[in-house]
């Protein structure tokens, strides 16, 4: 049986995904569609499953049921529909379609800024060293670090490391970029420079799903906000609606109230 593709297929299609760690249900039948060019922000109290959801999208975490498709292709399981895990080679190929930026940067400490970006370009994309270097320099320029190409991560500030982290992810030309609380480990004065880079990527039409606690940024930069609570999607909608005062969702209201109390 073949199903005709929908008219406007979602680039990322998360449907009915559930996952438990032991007896704790971290994701309860989460569904989320993201179309090309959208910037979706996921907010919610800690432990609500935001990061886990993001890590399921590139299969850094597996899930118990449901499906996650990028461009119609199941990410972690074989296309046969049997929930048979893909081979490691296939998984690697699928993961190269998404980029991820981490809360703790996770740069490779033995490689320079350019080296960090070049590794995937060379080993996964098969670029020559010269090509990879040119691409790395281009992206380092984009994030304002052209002069730091040969610096080691240890020689860079947190904000600079995170910008290299972003450059490393986007240089691979992923279909979708996953941002996991990328400013949470930064000193307040360094947050702005990182968000500026994200904003410019959004303007370029990069599809993004980000988990963040930067509400002001979420309001300005996202096309949609998802509020997660207890492993499920509790509310979803445009920023004005979700962060507005009219919203009829007790959990969201108390989350935002607590959030405002601690941040403003």
């Amino acid at each position: 049986m073949s199903i005709p593709p929908p008219a406007n297929p979602a680039l990322l299609d998360i449907s009915d995904v559930s996952k438990s760690f032991g007896t704790v249900e971290v994701l309860r039948s989460v569904s989320l569609q993201v179309t090309r060019g959208e910037v979706v922000t996921v907010i919610g109290p800690s432990g609500s499953g935001k990061t886990t959801l993001l890590r399921c999208v590139n299969f850094l975490e597996s899930y118990d049921s449901g499906s996650i498709r990028i461009d119609g292709k199941e990410v972690g399981f074989r296309d046969t529909g049997t929930r048979q895990r893909r081979s490691e080679r296939d998984l690697a190929k699928m993961r190269a379609e998404t980029g991820m930026v981490f809360q703790s940067f996770n740069l490779f400490p033995h490689l320079t800024a350019a080296g960090n970006i070049m590794l995937g370009l060379r080993k996964v994309r098969g670029k020559s060293s010269t090509e990879a270097r040119a691409i790395a320099e281009h992206w380092l320029g984009r994030v304002g670090l052209a002069h730091k190409a040969d610096s080691l991560p240890a020689e860079l500030s947190g904000g600079q490391q995170q910008r290299v982290g972003i450059a490393r992810a986007v240089a691979m030309e992923p279909k979708i970029l996953l941002l996991d609380e990328i400013t949470s480990a930064l000193d307040p004065e360094l947050v702005g420079e990182v968000l500026e880079v994200v904003r410019s990527l959004a303007e370029d039409g990069m599809t993004m799903v980000m988990v963040t606690h930067e509400m002001a940024f979420a309001r300005d930069a996202s096309s949609r906000i998802i509020f997660m609570a207890d492993g499920g999607v509790s509310a979803a909608g445009p920023p004005a609606e979700i962060l507005g005062t009219e919203i009829d969702n007790e959990r969201l209201r108390s989350f935002l109230a607590r959030f405002r109390a601690s941040h403003f």
């Binding site: 590139n58 850094l60 490691e88 080679r89 690697a92 190929k93 993961r95 190269a96 379609e97 998404t98 980029g99 991820m100 981490f102 703790s104 996770n106 740069l107 490779f108 400490p109 033995h110 490689l111 590794l119 995937g120 080993k123 996964v124 080691l152 490393r168 992810a169 691979m172």
Partner: protein, 221 residues
């Protein structure tokens, strides 16, 4: 004091000591090289394998670590050929023993280094689409090496000193050379003074060289 130091007899037989030192170094280098291969392979296997393999590797490590080296040397040189039909020289036998011995210690060094590589770096490797083999080669091993270099230097140095055990099966390395001179000249104080100085200087030189490697490695990475 009725004893006067007389080094003349030592210098007359110095080629025994010099040749012995060179052989000690040769034994150490070959055994450590084989030990590194054993250690790396088993450590990588250990961190990615199931319980059965882990238990087997742990058993090997524990066996070697809990039996004195001298006993292992006797077992391999005298014991093994009496039950199995093989013949080897004392030198080959000692290299085999010290290789197995250093392998066990190096498995431990490499394994703890591999396990100390932060999870986040492996995630980052996965996220850019590296295969498990590429992650091992380009992310995990380089970081592991940085973590383990100081411990490696110590292990290498103590393995170099362990070559002196080869004297018990008459491999003519440095300590054996000392014993030979002692038996033949009765200059026990002089010969052991000289040999101690030779171990000391060589050990220092080795450690200094390894420190240089460490520093260069840190600067280059």
């Amino acid at each position: 004091m009725g004893y006067t130091l007389n080094f003349n007899l030592i210098w007359r037989h110095f080629e025994k000591l010099w040749g012995g030192l060179l052989l000690s170094l040769e034994l150490a280098v070959i055994s450590i090289a084989i030990g590194i291969v054993i250690g790396l392979l088993l450590a990588v296997w250990y961190v990615s394998a199931g319980r059965l393999v882990r238990t087997a590797i742990a058993a090997y490590v524990e066996f070697i670590r809990n039996v004195p080296l001298i006993l292992l040397v006797y077992l391999v040189f005298y014991g093994l050929p009496t039950v199995v039909d093989i013949a080897y020289s004392a030198q080959t036998s000692f290299i085999a023993t010290l290789s197995l011995y250093s392998g066990a210690y190096l498995v431990e060094v490499f394994r703890s280094g591999l396990e100390a590589v932060p999870r986040g770096q492996l995630d980052a490797g996965k996220a850019i689409g590296l295969t498990p083999w590429q992650r091992l080669l380009h992310v995990r091993l380089p970081t592991m090496l940085r973590i383990t270099l100081p411990a490696l230097s110590n292990t290498f140095l103590s393995l170099f000193k362990d070559t002196s055990v080869a004297s018990v099966i008459s491999v003519p390395e440095l300590t054996y050379g000392a014993q030979w001179i002692n038996f033949n000249t009765f200059r026990i104080v002089e010969v052991y003074l000289v040999v101690t100085a030779m171990y000391l200087l060589t050990g220092y030189a080795l450690l200094y060289a390894l420190r240089l490697v460490e520093r260069r490695f840190r600067a280059a990475h």
